[in-house]
Amino acid sequence: EPEVTQTPSHQVTQMGQEVILRCVPISNHLYFYWYRQILGQKVEFLVSFYNNEISEKSEIFDDQFSVERPDGSNFTLKIRSTKLEDSAMYFCASSDAGGGRSLAFFGQGTRLTVV
């Protein structure tokens, strides 16, 4: 079965540093997403991306966050100046249709720890 891959699996960074989380979505998918899950809490939507632009974002996705699809295969999430509260699992997902009309495939996640 095709899969979404995320790198790195773990990232430790100092507060105030920039981090880039990388994702390779499934190749024929058109919709891409980032979610995060703080330890022990629910999965929270961050941003969705379609047709090379952000289609929707949550209140969590403030000016410190940005996404990019630099080369037609990778999909990245950048956090410009990390804060302690950014520590979480970050999941990338992709689907071939939006709005839950098809299954979203999730990567294994990147565990970000900000110290």
Partner: protein, 112 residues
């Protein structure tokens, strides 16, 4: 808020028993999906049920959807220790082509 609730928050059963988890949501939806998450791992999709469907089966999984009550249930029959995980429902709100909203999840423990 578009966030829904799942109940129970935690469920512990013996191997071989059936496990039922419920999900409620607050908006109109296109579809509802169930996902599984092993501790500290990624989300694995289990099943999608469309808003015009009432019941769907996949192996030992049975999902129901009641759009009038804005609720769904996931039944796992003949549970196994390997079914131990967190189970989340997620839905795509009508009128939004973009995102999934997740419920709060049920932690299922199946005791051997």
């Amino acid at each position: 808020s578009q966030q829904g609730e799942e109940d129970p928050q935690a469920l512990s059963i013996q191997e071989g028993e059936n496990a039922t988890m419920n999900c409620s949501y607050k908006t109109s939806i296109n579809n509802l999906q169930w996902y599984r998450q092993n501790s500290g791992r990624g989300l694995v999709h289990l099943i999608l049920i469309r808003s015009n469907e009432r019941e769907k089966h996949s192996g030992r999984l049975r999902v129901t959807l009641d759009t009038s009550k804005k609720s769904s249930s996931l039944l796992i029959t003949a549970s196994r220790a390997a079914d131990t995980a967190s189970y989340f429902c997620a839905w795509g709100p009508s009128g939004s082509a973009r995102q999934l909203t997740f419920g709060s999840g049920t932690q299922l423990t199946v005791l051997p």
